[in-house]
């Protein structure tokens, strides 16, 4: 049981990293949102599995939040915004897909090297989880850097938060306070982002961050 429990947790956490990679090379916003929904779904499964292996029923709440909120509500809402703005086919990468993927591989390697080395004392499940979680966090950061579009930056930020949830659930016995707060912060963050996106739309007629950058240069 221990063996298969570990393998499944390992597989789910690994798939989350894989999803982060798939996000990196998406060329269209609507496709990116689909992948993000999948990302959140994998997270929900992973958290639910952790709840089962750790015998920690409160983690099912976290899994449910991830499933309902991140895998369904947010992608749907973002899709509406994107379609209303008519930008569902657009995406602008700062650099090419190839380079982004190479950087991503480098970041994953880095997080494996760092986390596996420093957690040699911890139990293997938590170790692997932490290493994968850091990879997801770093890939989320990379996505925020390589995308110019405000919506895809938000998606990058949310997949980064998914990585944090993975880390928090992997840390056995971590108080519930934190998980709820993570979910809650995403909620607030989303409201804030939503407000901003609409305001940006009002003022700029585009959610392209370059428009803002140009504007700022004139101001300086």
């Amino acid at each position: 049981m221990q063996g298969i429990g570990f393998d499944i947790a390992h597989m789910l956490a690994g798939s989350l990293v894989l999803m982060s990679f798939i996000q990196l090379y998406q060329q269209r916003l609507s496709a990116l949102l689909n992948v993000f929904a999948l990302h959140a779904l994998v997270l929900a499964l992973s958290v639910a599995w952790q709840a089962y292996v750790q015998n920690a029923p409160h983690l099912y709440i976290t899994a449910l939040i991830a499933l309902v909120f991140k895998a369904i509500v947010i992608p749907l809402a973002l899709r509406r915004i994107v379609i209303r703005l008519g930008i569902h086919r657009e995406i602008e990468n700062v650099f090419g897909v190839g380079l982004a993927m190479l950087l991503g591989i480098g970041l994953v390697a880095l997080s494996m090297v760092v986390m596996l080395r420093v957690t040699s004392g911890a139990d293997p499940l938590a170790r692997e989880d932490l290493a994968f979680a850091l990879s997801v966090v770093l890939l989320g950061l990379l996505m925020m850097v390589t995308r110019r579009n405000a919506v895809s930056q938000v998606v990058g930020f949310m997949s980064l938060e998914n990585g944090l949830v993975l880390a928090a659930t992997g840390a056995k016995g971590m108080p519930l306070v934190v998980e709820i707060s993570v979910a809650f912060s995403v909620l607030i963050a989303f409201i804030v982002i939503g407000i901003f996106l609409f305001r940006i739309r009002e003022r700029f007629d585009t959610v392209d961050m370059r428009a803002m950058d140009r504007f700022r240069e004139e101001q300086r």
Binding site: V114, V118, G121, A122, L134, L160, A168, A171, P175, R203
Partner: protein, 479 residues
């Protein structure tokens, strides 16, 4: 949970925020805002006389008493400044009444969040509080809904969230390090328990955790190269918020960093957190000092000056030892008071002249003598000239660390001098020469500004022994 001074500093702002969210009329609400801030300040001061018992969620010790009194004091004076500032914004129509209601409620939510971050005894709770403080300030920075304000708020939001996310990862790692020693469950996040067991934590995990915490909370402190949000947020938000950001929120993030530094210092095998902090502090100070020269916006310029001073403070705490910690603590206090006084002056100036561009300001000492000379006094203080308090604290930073790291201190001194040059070059255009722009009479509240400057001036000449002993106790605590 019993109601004592500790819960008081949370309850007063929380209840007032609810009240302010529904009450109409800015005159009433701005007074209520002031009254609540004043009551919170009194409650915070009472911590010195009747120290409540620390529980599992809230704690009070010498370190956070200093921070919380400073925070509530500046919050109170800023609410006074804010009342007259907001009055003017309403008259000119830059803010609508419902925006003002939102603004006042957010002001109190921010106070609540900052106080909670300072007294939280749980590292998870502290993180939540800092996140809440970040979100409220994001909303306030964007309140004018102009291009620049939205862009600044967006940038602040993205960078702040990334910083906050990294800090959470660091917090999780601290829990992982504590779990084998303390055991599973909430105890492994309680500060007072962590600190007694820190010597047995896994040092490698602590090291990695500190790197994440330094990058995460360091973003909120405004350390270079993670400072990019800070000048925009300062320049585009309402000026009272610039004062609160510079004077208080940066300190709160610094407080979190100091707490974790104490934790690491107790573990004999973990890396020394000092050198990392020294490097980032020096980098920020040097970088910001040079950036002062090419600024065209007055609020942006003082934002860079804040980065410089946070750099000096982090440098002092990074060097460590009772004397350098004392200097850092004093410098932090003086900087908070001086920088908020400067923003009070700048806020009124920008309102009168209708612009923040340095090129369009001029001859303020002639057209508006009180404001102009107030600004001059503030800049003299912030640049570190005697006899003001910042001179004292900068002198202490330099003298207490010179014997240990002469070359590093040399770099710091150069940064301070470069910053002095930059500030005075700009001050010359702003305060002296031919008056430019509008000559409208100032409807300003001078009391908060001069109260701060008077304290800074007094501290440069004479420090009450009680204050010195208090700061010394904290410095020893910081190690």
């Amino acid at each position: 949970m019993t109601i004592d001074a500790l819960t008081g500093v949370l309850l007063i702002p929380a209840l007032t925020a609810g009240l302010l969210a529904v009450l109409p009329g800015y005159r009433l609400t701005s007074r209520l805002n002031m009254l609540a801030a004043f009551l919170t300040f009194l409650t915070a001061v009472s911590l010195f006389f009747f120290e409540p018992v620390s529980g599992r969620y809230l704690l009070v010790d010498d370190l956070n008493k200093v921070f919380i009194v400073l925070t509530t004091f500046v919050a109170f004076t800023t609410s006074g400044f804010s009342a007259s500032y907001i009055g003017h914004e309403i008259e000119t129509g830059r803010l609508k009444p419902n925006h003002v209601r939102f603004y006042h409620a957010m002001y109190q939510v921010l106070m609540f969040a900052m106080n909670l971050a300072l007294i939280a005894n749980n590292i998870g709770l502290m993180w939540v509080a800092i996140e809440l403080a970040t979100l409220t300030t994001v909303l306030m920075v964007g309140i004018y809904r102009t291009h620049e304000a939205l862009e600044a708020a967006w940038k602040y939001f993205i960078l702040g969230s990334v910083g906050i996310a990294l800090a959470l990862f660091g917090t999780i790692l601290i829990y992982m390090a504590a779990r084998p020693v303390i055991g599973e469950g909430p105890d492994a996040m309680v500060w007072t328990i962590l600190i007694t067991k820190a010597a047995n934590f896994d040092p490698d995990l602590l090291n990695v955790a500190f790197v994440f915490l330094l990058l995460g909370y360091g973003t909120k402190v405004g350390l270079a190269p993670l400072h990019a949000w800070l000048p925009d947020a300062h320049a585009e938000g309402p000026t009272p918020i610039s004062a609160v950001l510079s004077g208080l929120l940066l300190n709160v993030a610094l407080y979190a960093l100091l707490r974790f530094k104490m934790l690491l210092a107790l573990n004999p095998v973990a890396i020394a957190p000092g050198p990392l902090m020294v490097t980032m502090g020096l980098m920020s100070a040097v970088f910001a000092a040079f950036m002062l020269y090419s600024r065209r916006d007055i609020k942006r310029m003082f934002a860079y000056s804040s980065i410089e001073h946070m750099g000096i403070i982090v440098f002092a705490f990074g060097m460590g030892g009772p004397l350098a910690n004392f200097a850092g603590l004093l410098h932090m206090t003086m900087h908070s008071l001086t920088k908020s006084a400067i923003f009070f002056a700048v806020g009124h100036i920008a309102q009168i002249k209708g612009t923040q561009k340095i090129a369009d300001l001029g001859g303020l000492t002639i057209s508006h003598p009180v404001l102009g000379w107030g600004l001059v006094a503030g800049v003299v203080a912030i640049a570190g000239l005697p006899p003001m308090g910042i001179f004292m604290s900068e002198f202490l930073v330099v003298s207490s660390t010179f014997a240990r790291a002469p070359w590093l201190v040399l770099i710091l001194v150069i940064a301070i001098l470069v910053a002095l040059g930059g500030l005075f070059a700009k001050l010359n255009t702003i305060a002296f020469g031919e008056p430019r722009g509008s000559n409208a009479p100032a409807q300003a509240s001078y009391v908060p500004m001069f109260a701060h400057l008077a304290i800074v001036f007094a501290a440069g000449i004479y420090m009450p022994p009680a204050l010195v002993t208090g700061f010394q106790n904290v410095s020893r605590l910081l190690g």
